[in-house]
Symmetry: C2
């Protein structure tokens, strides 16, 4: 192997006449007898190389043997292509390389799938041959977007005087939060480390240490039952700062997001981002991560329908629940009575008993099974509330507030997507604030932290922590982009007594609080500054920036929904000797393989 | 809390007259009655603030209550200090802040140790209160050096078109190499993930994918019995490149190292770095990571002493072993016969049976217990070989080659340190090459890879792989700095048949090779480019750059030699419910705590 002189993608007419050495993969090969054309690909793109049997018999003879994805090295001269052969789609399209020498560096046998973006391939096959899947341009581009995103975030935070500090992966298991991955200790048989669900405690301790501005692109772990968009390990952009109030934190993050989408996508976004309280987001959009690229707001019509002769509506309001609705513009003509009735099935997924609908007719009248319950005045009032016009459809849910919001929020997203109500190239950021600090968990029989137990209550609500924990709002904020939660954060508790109150609201005894978080409570007594932070899901952010729809496509070597690596076959059985060293025995079940 | 206007360390005479808001910790407080002086510290340094009881009674009253490490916010005016009060040691030494307002943000109780660099503190106490230990300037500076090192490495590799790609932490257990940390799978009860000892396999697969230039600042894990300089988790700068031969790789790394020590230490180092083969390094310096900041080379005197009447020497040579020595300059007068005899105990640590010595006297004669065995001619020859002069001492080991090299290599380092033969500010890099590919492990009864099983043999030696595996040299290279191994790498095998030969040399059956590394063997058949890489130990590199002597000081939250985190108390017991979910039972032993 020689050192190459150029990479394929950089070659152009400036290089005409130069002798170049190139290395790469055979992307495509066309054998026209005395002339063999090959697209040679490397990381930078591809260029056409030509083997001329009349001029270079030996090279031509070798070229007859090469196949797709062979790895070759060629020496040749850069030539201008004839006008009729110019390929305007690629940057190297006006030139080609007349090859004088070729070395086959490595062969390739028949591939399980073609290295082409367009081909639909079963995802299990892609994951088993991930090293080939990653050769596809779209996947390589996604990895590149991931790299550029992290590099840019690091550069931005460096500018802001933040310092990346690594925190341990082998840490302590704590009962709050999701399920931990455990790591048995060999030295201390019967004891376990846990993989961190986030560097939360360590980053707060770094604030106690006085670093003031910490960040980390941190690997985190959660042993949860996986959904399509969850991975057992994921990466978060983890940020914490002292002496930086909520406003300064949000404004810095806005600056970062604006710079990211400008640099990586050429998009212009303005600060400040809009803000909604959690309550407002739920009431108006039925979601704590609303997509504001389109309207279709939820309207509460309880007051209007409470005296209705339609008992489903009036009865709901009577019980103290709500009747809410959305107006879907212009879908009347395309949706039959049956189509609209079928939406009930969708509503039931989210726990509603059903869905009612009304069509707005030409003459401004309402039509549909429940139209008869509304007189002219009420009909007009409904139309006014929704600012509805001809061909619009009104959809209603009468249920508990939470269910109504949930159903309508999801319907809103569904129709926006179907009706293409937004420009997929838009970047619509917003903050959601004032989340509830705690929520009551019926199963556990106690309050649980909505975010985590270190989140600061809104100052005005602190007094409620003992008596009405469910009413306490958190100094927390979520960053939402196009209907996805990019991440969230909060100002933290930094006083021992307030932290103890919080643990007590969560049902911890003093003993439990001390044994689990004693080191943090202690730390708070040695001069802990006010601090707060945020964590962004890197995988999700990259997914949006790279315009992918699957989180797995943003990760080089992801796991399946059942937490398997189809490439290496992890997890797998281990030897008895390994288990003995760890003083462990496997109960009940056979290893999956060994 | 207000937003601060400045950080302490940036204030200087340019700010005189300005009103500033500062936040930070009370570093020191001197109460002179009406005047209270406080050194206020934040991440950037500290500044003197003054509370004048005559001018601001309220602030002064609060200042009487503050103690060391309280967190405070002050508003005040920047004033010029009187000439006699100027502190030239700090950048803010010509000014002080006349405080008008103070808020106590958080209190601090009595600390377990003072936040001062000078104090010697028991390391266990430092680790338990790591958040306070990290407040000490030296520790903060070390973390800062670590951050600047990684940031700079990332910037340099970015310039070289390398791309950082994250590889999994939950991966597959493989039998080669050190002991794996295992992670039980809940979904697949009885199966385990392993934490990676390095991203080796994944980075090679990324080369198969065509990324060509990969790097990662990667967390790695080894469950080994810890020595003073080992940690269960450590960080390596992991690099891999395709179509980049050994020379290009070494030269790029030299450029990186030169830029690192220039930027971070202001030191000038020249490329190319010297190179020694493994054989030469062992023979001349008794180490595969020799410190070349000083000479004191090992000399083989076997030929000279083979006919000696000193039977220990002649007998050794007769048996086919060696007599080697070093010359320690000028230590004669300071070392009695007893002192020199006592060096035998040091030699025995490294497996030698003893150590012989000779002093060079004023008249050029040799003196010592074995002097009588050497006539004038032999004495002169010995003095010539070592280029010795008056007051030098010659030290000899007669033993197996490996033992002799080992003892003398360690003696060489010991004396160089004692005699301060090198400038600790020097950066002396070198490459050690041509390591043996394999070594025979008596206990395992088979050959083991010296580096790892994916290292490429030197082309000329490939044929020996089957018949004389121990003679095969590897295309491997270690980077050595001041006697420390910074890291190492190699060109890799990229052909399935050669890789299979390697596995076979390691005693793997075809079945075993396939079950453990089948996916890699398969990948090699789909167009794998020639590739190679290197990995640097970040902790070690930072240790040298930050001029520390303990690896733990370079890690924010390290573990002890018995793999405990004294801060969080990990590892610890877990609940039976957690174990049940994992289908595991603990045998024999009680958890360490719970």
């Amino acid at each position: 192997m020689q050192e190459r002189t150029h990479i394929c993608g950089e070659l152009n007419e400036m290089h005409i006449g130069e002798t170049v050495i190139l290395q790469g993969w055979v992307k495509r090969r066309r054998d026209l007898g005395e002339l063999i054309f090959v697209d040679l690909r490397d990381r930078s793109g591809y260029v056409q190389i030509v083997f001329n049997g009349d001029e270079n018999r030996e090279a031509h003879a070798l070229a007859e043997k090469i196949r797709s994805e062979y790895v070759i090295e060629v020496t040749g001269t850069v030539m201008k292509r004839d006008a009729e052969n110019v390929n305007e789609k690629i940057s190297t399209g006006t030139i080609e390389i007349n090859v004088t020498d070729i070395t086959i560096l490595n062969k390739a046998k028949g591939l399980p799938f073609m290295i082409e973006d367009e081909q639909e391939i079963n995802e299990d096959v892609r994951l088993k041959y991930r090293y080939l899947d990653l050769r596809r341009q779209k996947m390589a581009d996604t990895m590149h977007m991931r790299y550029r995103t992290t590099k840019l975030i690091r550069d931005i935070l460096d500018e802001e005087a933040f310092m990346e500090i690594e925190t341990p992966i082998l840490t302590k298991s704590t009962p709050e939060g999701a399920r931990d991955y455990l790591v048995p200790s060999r030295v201390h048989g019967g004891s376990f480390y846990a993989l961190p669900q986030s560097p939360q405690l360590f980053k707060q301790l770094l604030m106690v240490s006085g670093f003031e501005r910490y960040y980390q692109i941190a690997r985190c772990f959660r042993d949860e039952d996986l959904r399509a968009d969850r991975q057992p390990e994921f990466t978060q952009v983890d940020i914490e700062a002292s002496f930086m109030g909520k406003e300064a934190m949000l404004s810095m993050m806005e600056k970062m997001m604006i710079q990211l989408v400008k640099t990586l996508k050429g998009a212009d976004v303005q600060a400040p981002f809009p803000r909604l309280t959690y309550h407002e987001a739920m009431e108006r959009f039925g979601s704590d991560k609303p997509d504001l690229r389109f309207g279709m707001e939820l309207k509460n019509v309880s007051e209007l329908v409470k005296d209705s002769s339609f008992k489903v509506f009036s009865g709901t309001v009577e019980r103290g629940d709500v009747v809410k609705g959305i107006c879907v513009k212009g879908i009347g003509p395309d949706n039959s009575r049956k189509d609209l009735d079928n939406l009930s099935a969708f509503a039931e997924i989210y726990g509603a008993k059903g869905l009612a609908w009304l069509k707005v007719e030409d003459d401004g009248e309402l039509k549909g099974p429940i139209a008869k319950f509304f007189n002219d005045e009420k009909s007009k009032a409904l139309i006014d509330i929704f600012d509805a016009s001809t061909d619009d459809v009104l959809l209603f849910v009468a249920d508990k507030r939470k269910v109504a919001n949930d159903v309508l929020g999801n319907l809103r997203n569904k129709f926006a997507k179907e009706l293409k109500l937004f420009d997929p190239k838009d970047f619509n950021f917003l903050w959601v604030t004032e989340f509830p600090l705690l929520s009551y968990d019926e199963e556990m029989g106690r309050y649980m932290a909505e975010h985590h137990p270190f989140t600061r209550p809104v100052a005005a609500d602190e007094a409620l922590l003992t008596e009405s924990p469910e009413k306490v709002r958190a100094e927390a904020y979520d960053l939402v982009l196009n209907g996805y939660e990019l991440g969230g954060g909060s100002q933290r508790i930094y006083e021992r007594d307030l932290q103890e109150k919080m643990f007590s609201a969560l049902g911890f005894t003093d003993e439990e609080a001390k044994s689990q978080f004693g080191f943090l409570l202690d730390a708070f007594e040695y001069g802990t500054p006010p601090h707060g932070g945020i964590a962004l899901g890197l995988d999700r952010l990259v997914m949006i920036l790279a315009e992918r729809t699957n989180l797995r496509d943003t990760i080089a070597f992801p796991k399946t929904a059942s937490a398997n690596c189809l490439l290496t076959n992890a997890p797998s059985g281990v030897s008895d000797a390994q288990l003995d060293e760890l003083k462990l025995a496997v109960k009940d079940q056979k290893p999956a393989d060994s």
